[in-house]
Symmetry: C2
Amino acid sequence: MKYPTGSKKQEKKYIEYSHRGMTLENDINITNEQYRNKDVAYIYKKPTPITISKVEFDLKKEPIIKEGFYKTPSTTDYNGLYKGKYIDFEAKETKNNSFPLANIHFHQITHLQNIARHHGIAFLIVRFVKEGKTFLLEEKYLTDFLNKEKRKSIPLCYFEQNGFIIKEGWNPRIDYLDIINKIYFKGEEL
Amino acid sequence: MKYPTGSKKQEKKYIEYSHRGMTLENDINITNEQYRNKDVAYIYKKPTPITISKVEFDLKKEPIIKEGFYKTPSTTDYNGLYKGKYIDFEAKETKNNSFPLANIHFHQITHLQNIARHHGIAFLIVRFVKEGKTFLLEEKYLTDFLNKEKRKSIPLCYFEQNGFIIKEGWNPRIDYLDIINKIYFKGEEL
């Protein structure tokens, strides 16, 4: 794994990052846009599922939603296409030094397992905010943990041992496909 | 192409169908659920994209969306995974005997073209309501039409010549993957 700086500098870097106020979701959305602009991959965030219960119609204007409720998502937040392969992942931030499994819905885990079984590329992206580290963890290691461990959260060291740290930069912002490229395509160029 | 009955019976069949009040969207949602239940494919409808402008928070209850607006979708409505391949399509009904291109957003067409170029499976499902016929048209024939024709709608005969009619039944309700199977997997069993 690559760390650009030592632990003290990392601490400082984290502070700068937090000042920029960039969330993981923002970083992924920017990255996906950068991938699209370079014609590298077509990966999108799914809209938040909402049950709409009241809509106001006005012939002169666009309809306005007047009442709605958030629904529990049945799939993950992100999916798309890279080098002919189906890509599917969920992304979460945590302020703890262990990733609470309660942060992912049970059927999102089942969904990732279904995808992997059908030869899609399924993974988690988890950012440890305090440590300023973002990891990619393949579905098989998530499932392994769930099968073997009784703990309700995945410790940082499990990500360090079984995951891949995602490099941060400007373009692409967080280059998670670089890791996918190395795992699934042996780093070949398109 | 297979027609279960002659034209007069088809007319009657259409009336029965319309009485059941099943829209194409309903049929596709049911079909996708049936595919999932049989562990055949994991294809979902994306939630409708909404910009939320007011949310009411109440500590005791779930948050309630008090104002929101429909956004123009940047991708198609359906995507997912089948036999390791990325599947992406848009579905539309028309009451005309020609499919108006105004029914699909320009960037949805671009999206389908991006998907096909990156080796995903991209297509349209179009139902001609009066004729009671539902077609699958591959992206390449859509693009061909757009490149060669100046007409603003695709006539039914173009679908009959270049598309595939989708069989209707109970389970699966509209078996569009049967066509994908024949085109991309030469009809092999999993």
